[in-house]
Amino acid sequence: MKVLNIVEAAYRGTLEEQDDPIIWICSAMKGANADIDVLLRGNAVNYAIKAQDASGLSFGGQEQTQPPKIADDLVRLKGKGVKIYVVDDALRERGIEPGELIDGLDFVARSKLARLFSGYDQVWHW
């Protein structure tokens, strides 16, 4: 069974969780030999930007020592054989330049999502 996992909501609970929960669960499932790929759409396309930096949070002197590093997590996921698709219209709309992005992404036009979805047994929109 081949599954495409869609991530659309971005930076939702990522500071408290120190992860994006969907990128995390995809990594965990890949570790269990799941045959999965990931599609970033909407604001989640921002996750592919190399320069994200969430470090420095501190509350009452309690410092966060493991801030999320979502771009690194995507690179690691890619390294495990998971394709990371990104909707290129969403990048352009947000003014994100190609040079800002991690390597190894697969770009897909919004108009071609229907064709992409047809290639998977299931499509899970988180």
Binding site: R110, L113, A114, F117, Y120, H125
Partner: protein
């Protein structure tokens, strides 16, 4: 040809991505698939004739079956005999049946 069920829980008044989900439904039909767009929760709001209803009618005219959860309609005081053209009220059990029949299902 595959069969898809797109469940839309959000509405275009509050969220400008919803129109893209309607487009996705139409594009899936253009790719030769059979598609049901099932509106639930606030997703039924444009089923009442209003500013964004034309999007739903256009989606239905493109060959997508557009259904609206009868409970969500009633909860919002939308009479099922007052729905915009192309939208039909339906029981949530349609989702369970289509799931059980193996449709590719996507919740938004």
């Amino acid at each position: 040809m595959a069969k898809f069920l797109l469940i839309e829980s959000r509405d275009p008044f509050d969220n400008n991505v919803v129109a893209r989900q309607y487009d996705l439904a139409v594009n899936l039909v253009k790719e030769g698939n059979e598609v049901t767009l099932f509106l639930v929760q606030n997703g039924v709001l444009p089923a009442r004739p209003g500013a964004h209803s034309a999007l739903l009618t256009a989606t239905a005219r493109s060959g997508v079956e557009v259904l609206a959860d009868d409970f969500s309609l009633r909860e919002r005081g939308i009479a099922d005999n007052r729905l915009v053209e192309g939208v039909k009220a339906a029981s949530l059990s349609v989702i369970v049946d289509q799931l059980a029949n193996g449709r590719k299902v996507i919740w938004h």
